[in-house]
């Protein structure tokens, strides 16, 4: 199975060095080949498990509660401006 490491890395926002591509390609393909084992299993009429202890639609009241202060929320950021997170522009002007 051929996996396009460059394309996948781009989707996942990862930088992969050209020199690493072949190694990753090989390793990922061997895992994908292994997991193909599942195709042997007949899963016709089997429902997919989404929650293992059977909980459904867990909700809470929609009300505000004490949370982090602005200062706390920003305390680990290397890039802030006037009490906001500062990020690079994502759209061209």
């Amino acid at each position: 199975m051929k996996i396009d490491v460059g394309h996948i890395a781009k989707l996942a926002n990862l930088e992969i060095k050209e020199s690493e591509k072949e190694k990753f390609q090989k390793q990922l393909s061997s895992v994908l080949q292994y997991v193909d084992k599942l195709q042997e299993v007949d899963t016709k009429d089997v429902e997919a498990t989404s929650q293992v202890t059977g909980l459904e639609n867990v909700t809470r009241e929609d009300e505000t509660k004490p949370s982090l202060t602005q200062e706390e929320a920003l305390s680990n950021s290397k890039s802030t401006h006037n009490g906001f997170f500062k990020v690079k522009a994502i759209l061209d002007e």
Binding site: L14, L28, Q39, N76
Partner: protein, 483 residues
């Protein structure tokens, strides 16, 4: 015996009867850390200052209680409300600790200082635990050997050429090297049970949702279980009494009643029906492990357990299902690390994290979802059904934790698939959400090996009962490494 070698139970009794103080106990652990951590590399962060402060406060609380052996024992009351008062515990560096650096073993979080405690950290602190330090792990809990840590591998205290098991690698190494009294871990595919068995400790993976995941950095949200390492089964039960509870901050914690987990420890196992899965005797099963396992089964039979061969036919598909579900959820959980709000940029991810993110991104990408993730979740249903069927006939299941004894550092590091297959006996419990406890069952060439006891969801009490009976009848857990 030195103070740093005590069990939680012994430490509780010693503190209560004033044989020693929390400061003495904490300093004994810190001294051992200073002596051995440079070699073993069990800790990423040692919290000396915070630990001493917490121990001093614990001693004050203990001293302020009136102790009257003849009448009402008010210190006893304190210890009932705060059973871990003054006891040093090490935390896997995946648990958010307010004001204490939390790295997940990755350079991405090299300088991240959480502004809140994980729910389970808060519970252990409220119970009086002293945070002695943050332990090493495979980065993001990705691995079975500890070698994927960005802060260097942890060595197995039993033999420094061998791995301690992973992904919780530092926690069991710290405990078996007497650097703490207990330690915490997470088990997503075996990350508590496997290292516990490699370090001759008791490791508990509770039922999915029994202990809150809030604030423990997420690896695979549908599989992560929060547990711990202890020297005895009793200690394991004491800790679960503190950590198990529904949490409003984790919607996957059900309201199922929390039991008193120490209640049935001495009940024995006469008449308890035990299933032994025939699928676990595979070609890959090491001869030493098999021999020790057969001996353990005989011991359990002598204690009155009734053995029955059972079948879990989908066991061989466990790893394949796991290596679809796990990377898929990993790729989603690790998408939040952008280096903007906290931590550093994505270029700091190590090789294994990159592999898993890419694998998950691939299997979840357009056109592949049904063939991979959905298929795996269907196979997961079949694995759950296997267990459901078996638990109608037997009370619990026994199996080796790992098909092999600990392996040498470097042995599997260049072959990810080979590393993944070491979790073959442990992943199915995660896929089914059932609890498992790993207990020492002997040695192979001086290296520890363990047995796991699996039960239906929320059967932790029964697992402690069985584990305790086995432990009381054997001496393995009492052996210590030569340090």
């Amino acid at each position: 015996m030195n103070l740093n070698q005590l069990t939680i139970k012994q430490a509780q009794e010693g503190l209560k009867s004033k044989k020693f103080s929390s400061i003495e106990l904490t300093k004994a652990c810190l001294k051992q850390i200073k002596k051995l951590n440079p070699k073993i590399n069990a800790f990423i962060t040692v919290c000396e200052k915070e630990a001493i402060e917490a121990a001093e406060n614990a001693d004050k609380s203990l001293a302020s209680q009136v102790f009257d052996p003849e009448g009402s024992d008010r210190r006893g009351e304190t210890l009932e409300a705060r059973p871990l008062l003054g006891i040093p515990i090490a935390f896997k560096d995946l648990f958010s600790t307010k004001g204490i650096k939390t790295t997940a073993g990755s350079k991405v979080l090299n300088d991240y200082i959480p502004v809140y405690d994980a729910t389970v950290v808060g519970k252990l602190k409220d119970a009086g635990a002293v945070i002695i330090g943050k332990t090493n792990l495979d980065a993001w809990a990705h691995g079975s050997s500890g070698e994927n840590s960005d802060f260097g591998a942890t060595l197995n205290p039993w033999n420094n050429e061998f791995v301690p098991g992973g992904s919780s690698s530092g926690s069991p190494a710290a405990l078996s090297a007497d650097m703490c009294i207990a330690s915490t871990g997470t088990d997503t595919g075996g990350s508590i049970r496997l290292p516990a068995s490699f370090c001759n400790l008791v490791g508990l993976k509770p039922t999915y949702g029994r202990v809150s995941r809030n604030g423990v950095l997420a690896m695979v949200s549908s599989l992560d279980s929060i547990g711990h390492f202890t020297r005895t089964v009793e200690d394991s039960a004491i800790l679960l009494n503190v950590t198990a509870k529904k949490d409003d901050f984790d919607a996957t914690t059900p309201g199922v009643d929390v039991q008193n987990y120490t209640k049935n420890l001495n009940k024995g196992i006469k008449g308890i029906k035990i299933g032994v899965p025939k699928e676990y005797v595979t070609k890959g099963l090491d001869k030493h492990v098999q021999t020790k396992f057969e001996e353990a089964l005989k011991d359990l039979e002598e204690l009155g357990a009734i053995m029955e061969e059972i079948s879990l036919p989908h066991t061989e598909y466990g790893i394949a299902a796991y290596y679809i579900i796990q990377p898929a959820e990993v790729s989603s959980n690790l998408a939040r690390y952008d280096g903007i709000r906290f931590g550093s940029g994505r270029e700091n991810f190590g090789g294994e994290a990159k592999r898993r993110i890419m694998l998950g991104t691939y299997t979840l990408s357009a056109g592949y979802y049904d063939a991979y993730y959905k298929k795996a979740m269907k196979v997961r249903t079949l694995i759950i059904k296997d267990f459901d069927t078996v638990f109608k006939k037997v009370d619990a299941i026994f199996a080796p934790v790992s098909p092999t004894p600990p392996w040498k550092l470097g042995e599997k590091i260049n072959d990810p698939l080979k590393m993944y297959l070491s979790d073959i006996f442990t992943v199915t419990a995660n896929l089914a959400g059932i609890p498992g406890i790993s207990v020492p069952m002997g040695f192979s060439d001086g290296l520890p090996i363990g047995m796991q006891i699996l039960g239906p969801q929320f059967s932790e009490s029964l697992l402690f009962q069985i584990g305790s009976a086995y432990e009381q009848a054997t001496e393995w857990h009492k052996r210590k490494p030569t340090l």
